[in-house]
């Protein structure tokens, strides 16, 4: 978009696009992660494993997906 890096101007369109795309990727990554963990939890061998995986899914939901 612009060159060189406009590191001193955090609200330029390039910075906003960078943060928008990074956040979108992170959101998508978090959603996929919760889905994968939930899938694994459903197939867990023991109740303890299910609990561990469900706790991790909650944390990813809380710290990655929601922010």
């Amino acid at each position: 978009v612009t060159a060189p890096f406009a590191l001193t101007a955090p609200f330029t369109p390039a910075w906003l696009l960078f943060l928008h795309v990074a956040a979108a990727f992170l959101f998508f990554g978090g959603a996929v992660t919760v889905a994968v963990i939930s899938f694994a939890a459903a197939r867990a061998r023991t109740v303890r494993e299910t609990a561990v995986l469900a706790r991790l899914a909650n944390r990813v939901d809380l710290f990655v997906l929601w922010p």
């Binding site: 978009v1 612009t2 060159a3 060189p4 890096f5 406009a6 390039a14 696009l17 960078f18 795309v21 990074a22 979108a24 990727f25 992170l26 998508f28 990554g29 978090g30 959603a31 996929v32 992660t33 994968v36 963990i37 694994a40 867990a44 061998r45 023991t46 303890r48 494993e49 561990v52 995986l53 991790l56 944390r59 990813v60 990655v64």
Partner: protein
């Protein structure tokens, strides 16, 4: 004749960028899955729990493989479609960082794979905590390599946005 040609060219570009971004999103998703698995296993002592968490990393590796190759393939297609040069600084740097992220992620994930294999053996043999397993899970150089792989991804994204030198 001119209008359909323009329409087709625009459609090709839009398809290429859509598939390139989808691949990149899957690449990042795989990194998040693998990272969550590795971080989730930190501090756990029971081998069965560590094995259950590190098994997740295999899904992450699969997503990284599919996503990174998709992003690379359609990214190279975009370079050709836009008549850019593969030798342009930002494109060459992106390709170098793509290779670096693959290498660093692979090296960082090797210890996690050893930890998962050991955890599965221990889980089947009494499921007692093991100091060597804890050391493998918390192996700092591997965590640093995985973090550097993620940093390479962020740097690629920055190059895609700013395109320095173009």
């Amino acid at each position: 004749m001119g209008r359909p040609a323009v329409f087709l060219a625009a459609t090709l570009f839009q398809w290429l960028i859509f598939l390139h971004l989808t691949g990149a999103a899957l690449f990042v998703a795989g990194a998040v899955v693998a990272g969550a698995a590795q971080l989730g296993a930190l501090g756990r002592e029971r081998p069965s729990e560590i094995a259950a968490l590190l098994r997740l990393a295999r899904y992450g590796v699969l997503l990284v493989a599919v996503g990174s190759l998709t992003a690379l393939g359609f990214g190279l297609g975009l370079v050709a479609d836009l008549h850019d040069s593969y030798g342009d600084g930002w494109i060459a740097a992106s390709l170098g960082l793509w290779l670096a992220s693959q290498g660093l992620g692979g090296a960082g994930g090797r210890t996690a794979r050893h930890a998962r294999e050991r955890a599965e053996r221990l889980a089947a043999a009494g499921d007692e905590p093991d100091a060597e397993l804890s050391a493998l899970v918390a192996h700092r150089p591997s965590l640093v390599l995985s973090s550097l792989s993620t940093a390479a991804l962020v740097a690629i994204l920055a190059l895609m946005i700013w395109k320095p030198g173009s």
